[in-house]
């Protein structure tokens, strides 16, 4: 400072007094102003950014950070990733010209279904680190946030293990030292079993730090941690047991594949964790609110009330915010659709393959009776009659011809079947055509389809009902739907318990848990211990959990995927035989089309008959190659980190 004063003294002698005083004042002020230390002067706390300590000082702020982390969880099928993430695998037909590729390709790429988001893992690790460093949060808040961070991390590691097998287990934020040599950051893949062990041990460690209540749905609870543990242990157990059938799907370092001997151990854990929910007092129970069981099953996915006792963890959506989804818009029936004029409706059409696999109420499997023993069509008074006496989950999952949505009857029929067996139809349902021998033009195609190649209307004869929101406006692009996606629910926990008990030889318990789920579906004749077979377990999960993102991973962990999707063409006799057998082929989605019979004078005139149809857009046959069991780790990753071993069979 004195250095600056010195020249002013010289100036003082030269110039007049008045000005000198002014200069002196300025100099003084400058001097005073510069008295601050440089570090104080330069370090200004930004007003628009919170530092870590501030961010972790208020519970509301931490919740908003958590909300972001919850949203970034990877779900195989999710409303965020669009309706196509529910399609595929022979369970449905995509009635959308831009998505026909799903049924036209012959195989999946090796990198299909991969997930390798270490950016997310890093942020979860940072969250955990910052939460534990927080000074002003109350101890219970801090513990709960910590447990939630660990839950999300474990759940994502589980998701990666499902898709990639063993992945590097990074449990602290890694920092690069800018030395030019990043090799110390390169971690090898953990064994597949180690990732599952980690998920299980995390769940055990955090379960009592999380709220033990069934009323919390969108944040992790004790129930969610246990549900994750049960599912993960079940996956690990079945990979150990059924992985023995595919010795080629393994790596010498066990990054892929779990030793057969460990199977039992995992099943024990799965059963224990599931029982902790089932026998616990957190308040979970199957959703049973409506007398109509099909209605009840559909409602289970729409009711995101806190009192929905079935859902354990959901990804929530809310109308009139930015977090909404167009799942209803994309898949609603064309005739009552709110965006049909804009070409948005009816994309996901469940296949006959799935529909026929729903049991009859006497616990037997049978194709839908559309032909009699001598091959003649069976006629029905109403189109829906053919589906009578089946598992209530059928009508709860699928909109059948003759049913209604939002109180409006569906108009699904492929045309008039004439006496000579020919079909009278027209691609445009609004174009009227006279019937033979008459002059009055009439409608000859249902407004909801099916007509081969008419997109955005059903081409399989069915629409999806699960998740479809009947709220007015939910099917319009401007409003969209706020229906939640259920990540864990109680019925799956019961089925996990049943499967683990079955694998451990406790078939009576397995039957008990399965009967709980089945009774809710109207299958009131209980299974006996001897009825519970591997086929039954596979079947039950397929129909209960259809379109919930389980089918692929179930087929993978049972090592059934390469058998079920073997790239072979499916014939009608393949379709109709071996229903309920776990190894049944499912390579092409078939349709089931209703027709009105037109034959004046015949007693069946005006009645309904059905045909089995392979939509002409289905040109591919799904093939699951052995290299698809574990998704490819990209070359960019393996070349950046040579310690990462490649997946088998790719």
């Amino acid at each position: 400072m004195w250095v600056f004063i010195f020249p002013y003294n010289i100036i003082f002698n030269i110039f007049s007094m008045k000005r000198n005083i002014l200069i002196l004042l300025i100099a003084l002020l400058t001097g005073l102003g510069s008295c601050k230390k440089d570090s104080e002067f330069l370090n200004i706390t930004p007003t628009s950014i919170l530092n870590n300590e501030q961010a972790f000082s208020d519970p509301a702020q931490v919740v908003s950070i958590l909300a972001n982390l919850y949203t970034r969880q990877a779900d195989f099928s999710s409303f965020n990733s669009g309706w196509t993430s529910f399609a595929d695998f022979g369970e449905s037909f995509p009635s959308d010209a831009g998505s026909y590729g799903i049924v036209q390709s012959n195989q999946w790429n090796y990198d299909a279904w991969n997930s390798y988001n270490y950016g997310y893992i890093r942020e979860l690790n940072l969250f955990i680190q910052r939460d534990s460093a927080a000074k002003t949060l109350s101890a219970p808040d801090k513990a709960r946030f910590m447990a939630e961070g660990r839950f999300l991390r474990a759940n994502y590691y589980f998701e990666m293990a499902k898709r990639m097998g063993g992945v590097p287990l990074i449990l602290e934020p890694l920092l690069y030292d800018f030395s030019g040599d990043p090799t110390y950051l390169q971690r090898p893949r953990a064994k597949e079993s180690e990732v599952y062990d980690f998920v299980i041990s995390e769940a055990e460690a955090i379960k009592n730090l999380l709220p033990a209540t069934a009323n919390e749905k969108s944040r992790a609870t004790r129930g969610a941690a246990l549900a994750m543990e049960a599912r993960a242990a079940l996956y690990a157990g079945s990979i150990a047991k059924y992985g023995a059938n595919t010795p080629l799907v393994s790596l010498p370092g066990a990054e892929v594949g779990i030793p057969f001997s460990k199977g039992n151990e995992y099943y024990v854990i799965a059963l224990r964790a599931a029982k902790e929910i089932i026998d616990g007092k957190d308040g979970y129970a199957l959703y049973q609110r409506k007398a109509d069981l099909a209605e009840n099953f559909a409602q289970l996915f729409l009711d995101k009330d806190n009192t929905n006792t079935e859902s354990i963890l959901i990804e929530d959506y809310k109308v009139k915010t930015s977090k909404v989804h167009g799942f209803t818009t994309n898949n609603q029936p064309f005739s009552s659709g709110e965006e049909s004029a804009n070409g948005d409706a009816g994309r996901l059409n469940p296949s006959l393959n799935l529909v026929e696999s729903f049991e009859k109420l006497d616990n037997t499997y049978a194709p839908l009776p559309y032909r009699d023993a001598s091959g003649n069509p069976i006629y029905y008074n109403n189109p829906i009659d053919i589906f009578a006496g089946r598992d209530a989950r059928l009508a709860g999952t699928v909109m059948l011809p003759g049913s209604s949505f939002k109180g409006q009857p569906l108009d699904i029929w492929a045309g008039y079947k004439l006496a000579d067996g020919s079909v009278l139809t027209n691609q445009d349902a609004s174009k009227l055509v006279p019937l033979p021998g008459t002059t009055t033009p009439v409608q000859v195609l249902g407004k909801d389809g099916p007509y081969d190649g008419n997109e955005k209307r059903t081409q399989s004869g069915f629409y999806l009902r699960k998740y479809l929101d009947p709220t007015p406006g939910a099917g319009s692009r401007g409003t969209n739907s706020g229906v939640a996606f259920i990540r864990y629910r109680y019925a799956e926990v019961l089925l996990n318990a049943a499967e683990a008990a079955f694998e451990l030889g406790q078939t009576a318990d397995a039957a008990k848990y399965m009967n709980m789920v089945r009774a809710r579906a109207g299958l009131t004749i209980p299974l006996t211990a001897a009825d519970v077979t591997f086929n039954k377990i596979v079947h039950e999960r397929r129909v209960e959990l259809a379109f919930e993102g389980h089918y692929l991973f179930d087929m993978k962990r049972w090592r059934l995927a390469h058998i079920v999707w073997d790239g072979q063409q499916m014939t009608v006799s393949d379709l109709l035989s071996n229903i309920g057998v776990a190894t049944k082929r499912n390579t092409q989605p078939y349709g089931f089309w209703p027709y009105k019979y037109y034959n004046p004078g015949n007693p069946n005139n005006g009645k309904w008959l059905y045909d089995i149809v392979l939509p002409s857009k289905v040109t591919g046959t799904l093939r699951f190659r052995l290299g698809n069991y574990y998704s490819q780790i990209s070359d960019a990753i393996t070349s950046a980190n040579p310690k990462i071993v490649k997946q088998p069979n790719q």
């Binding site: 790239g567 046959t621 093939r623 052995l626 290299g627 088998p648 790719q650």
Partner: protein, 235 residues
């Protein structure tokens, strides 16, 4: 006039300046070859059996991945250098050597000029003496199946044999690579030295008076095929 001169000078300048090549020389050494068993090429499925080439010494190591053709050929045009070739492991219809650590072994290739390489491998099965002919609206085939790998540890069973026909020269059991097929389960084969099958030729639109046919053998638990050579059959 003046403007023309300016434009002309500009063009000349541009031409002169752009005389330098602005790119690297393209790779020029062709590495070709096929998979053979005792000199006989293996017939595979198009785009199913892959191989990878690695070149070391340039920092990051990534594979140059390619597939064998349905005749078992491979070809890559590369820069001169030292490469390693390996078959992507596992589900292939032949035995590829493994290292002691259980990873697929590799073949070292020093590529200074064009190179043709026949890679000798041991297939699980071979289809021998295929006789394909068309008559009466059907394609008939008779052939033998030779079980090459017979030791219990590594032998595989036959899942099925299949006679396939297609409109184009790509013939396989995939939906879009065949127009008709007939299957015979491995358990239903009574005499592997004398198998005969036939498949009706469906109506082809637009009409053509020939089909391409081959016989395939699917190996159990491998989901992988070995074929006979594709034959064009006129009827």
């Amino acid at each position: 006039m003046k403007i023309y001169y300016t434009v002309a000078i500009a063009f000349i300048a541009m031409t002169a300046l752009s005389c330098k090549k602005d790119n690297y020389t393209p790779p020029s050494r062709a590495l070709t070859g096929k998979l053979v068993y005792k000199g006989e090429p293996l017939q595979l499925q198009y785009n199913q059996v892959g191989y990878e080439l690695y070149q070391y010494g340039f920092g990051l190591v990534g594979a140059i991945g390619q597939f064998f053709t349905q005749e078992g050929n491979f070809s890559s045009v590369l820069f001169p250098g030292d490469y390693k070739l390996t078959v992507t492991n596992g589900s292939v219809p032949f035995i590829w050597n493994k290292t002691a650590a259980g990873k697929p072994d590799s073949i070292g290739i020093s590529l200074n000029e064009n190179k043709n390489l026949n890679i000798e491998v041991t297939p699980y099965y071979m289809i021998r003496t295929p006789q394909l002919s068309a008559s009466g609206g059907k394609v008939k085939a008779t052939f033998k199946v030779e079980k090459v790998v017979t030791d219990i540890a590594s032998a595989k069973d036959i899942d099925k044999v299949v006679l396939l026909i297609n409109k184009t020269a790509f013939v396989s059991d995939d939906g879009n690579e065949r127009i008709a097929s007939t299957n015979l389960a491995g358990t239903a084969i009574t005499d592997p030295n004398n198998i005969s099958m036939e498949v009706p030729i469906p109506t082809i639109v637009p009409a053509q008076n020939y089909v391409f046919a081959r016989v395939g053998l699917r190996i159990k638990n491998l989901n992988s095929y070995i074929f006979s050579p594709v034959q064009k059959i006129t009827f």
